[in-house]
């Protein structure tokens, strides 16, 4: 997949009001594949933590019998981290403000995940 294609996928996410940035992260090693982040967000550290959380969550969910994760959402006092794993093994990640429309970001993340395969 070209970087332009990743860019288009990230555009789907970052155009949602309240989204402060989006990334494509390799789930296996936590490295950044592509990013569109607002200034001040440390992409490499975020990618590593998101991938690590995703891995732990995937294992816990599989052990619980609820299957692989389709979407997850870390809720914080002043914002949120939203993640959709794509079939190819990458994570679509969005950082959002507290008042963002979570449902809308979820939809765009799922569309982006479909686009990157």
């Amino acid at each position: 997949m070209t970087s332009a294609a990743f860019g288009q996928a990230l555009d789907l996410i970052t155009r949602v009001r309240g989204v402060r940035g989006a990334m494509v992260v390799a789930q296996d090693d936590g490295l950044v594949v592509a990013e569109q982040l607002m200034e001040g967000i440390r992409g490499t550290a975020l990618a590593a933590l998101a991938a690590s959380l995703a891995t732990r969550l995937r294992k816990a969910m599989e052990a619980a019998g609820v299957g692989v994760s389709v979407f997850w959402h870390l809720q914080c006092e002043q914002g949120a981290l939203l993640v959709v794993p794509a079939p190819s093994g990458v994570l679509l990640v969005a950082v959002a403000a507290a008042d963002v429309n979570i449902g809308l970001v979820r939809l765009e993340l799922l569309r982006a995940a479909e686009a990157v395969g």
Partner: protein, 281 residues
């Protein structure tokens, strides 16, 4: 009693707008015909959605069915409509007792006592909630709906303290709620897979460190502290929340339970977990 049920059913069929459903629903509940009782109560609520006694009736039926979460909602609604409804106060006291919150149980019973000082069953329930007296005989089950509301409170007082486990009284306490420490050791609750297999320890082990990583991620992003993590799986939904910095709560439900509702369930479980952890300290 069977004749009464027949007669009341006939009366309700003739006068569907009447309040006879309250007596019929209560009779069915006493006969432990809970499905029929619930149908009668729900039909009554469709016609009288702002009738406190109707919500109270449904709550008692749900409590008998051990659906404590929805019983709580119905008694809560009863009190919103009629703040001095002693049946609802006693019912909520029962539910608080079930989750081990004896202080709240007693507070609700004291409030009920102020409203109905002549009701001796409340004194018995207060004494038993304190755990200092022998259990009183079971409340006489009378046929009128408001009097029968005494039953849950009395049941509360006679319920074994074993029910004071961390999630006792909450829906899914033994198959869909889990409290672990930061090392992934189980503090309370249990999990079963959709196939019925006990997966408590396996899931707990994978949850070790999740709380710290969630906190680190929130800090890195400058988003304050983390409040919860909702996840949608192919066959079910999960919600994680930190009752304290040293513990992590997991709620698991099938996909029929929306993520937003799961977060509400989790908040109730977090409150129960905090109270339980405080008592353990």
């Amino acid at each position: 009693m069977a004749d009464d049920i027949k007669a009341l059913s006939a009366q309700l069929a003739q006068e569907p707008q009447s309040l006879v459903f309250l007596r019929l629903g209560e009779l069915l509940r006493q006969k432990r015909q809970f499905d029929a009782a619930r149908r009668v109560a729900l039909l009554g609520l469709e016609r009288h959605p702002h009738l406190a006694d109707a919500h109270d009736l449904l709550a008692r039926i749900l409590a008998d069915l051990h659906d404590y979460e929805h019983a709580f909602d119905e008694w809560d609604m009863t009190l919103r409509i009629a703040p001095e409804h002693t049946g609802a106060l006693k019912g909520l006291a029962f539910l608080y007792f079930k989750v081990g919150d004896l202080a709240q149980a007693e507070a609700h019973l004291h409030l009920a006592k102020r409203i109905a000082p002549e009701d001796a069953s409340i004194d018995q329930a207060i004494a038993m909630a304190r755990g200092g007296l022998e259990p009183a005989p079971a409340a006489e089950r009378r046929s009128d709906a408001s009097a029968a509301a005494a039953t849950p409170a009395t049941q509360a007082a006679t319920a074994p303290l074993e029910e004071s486990r961390v999630f006792a009284g909450l829906e899914g306490a033994q198959e869909g709620l889990l409290l672990v420490d930061t090392a992934g050791l189980v503090l309370g609750g249990a999990l079963r897979s959709p196939a019925g297999e006990d997966v408590t320890d396996a899931v707990a082990a994978y949850l070790a460190g999740v709380s710290q990583e969630a906190a680190r991620t929130a800090k890195l992003l400058g988003l304050g502290s983390w409040r919860g993590l909702s996840a949608e799986g192919r066959h079910g939904h999960v919600h994680l929340a930190p009752p304290t910095a040293e513990s992590l709560l997991l709620v698991v439900r099938d996909r029929g339970v929306p993520l937003g509702r799961l977060a509400i369930l989790a908040q109730r479980a977090v409150q129960a977990a905090r109270r339980w952890l405080e008592r353990q300290a």
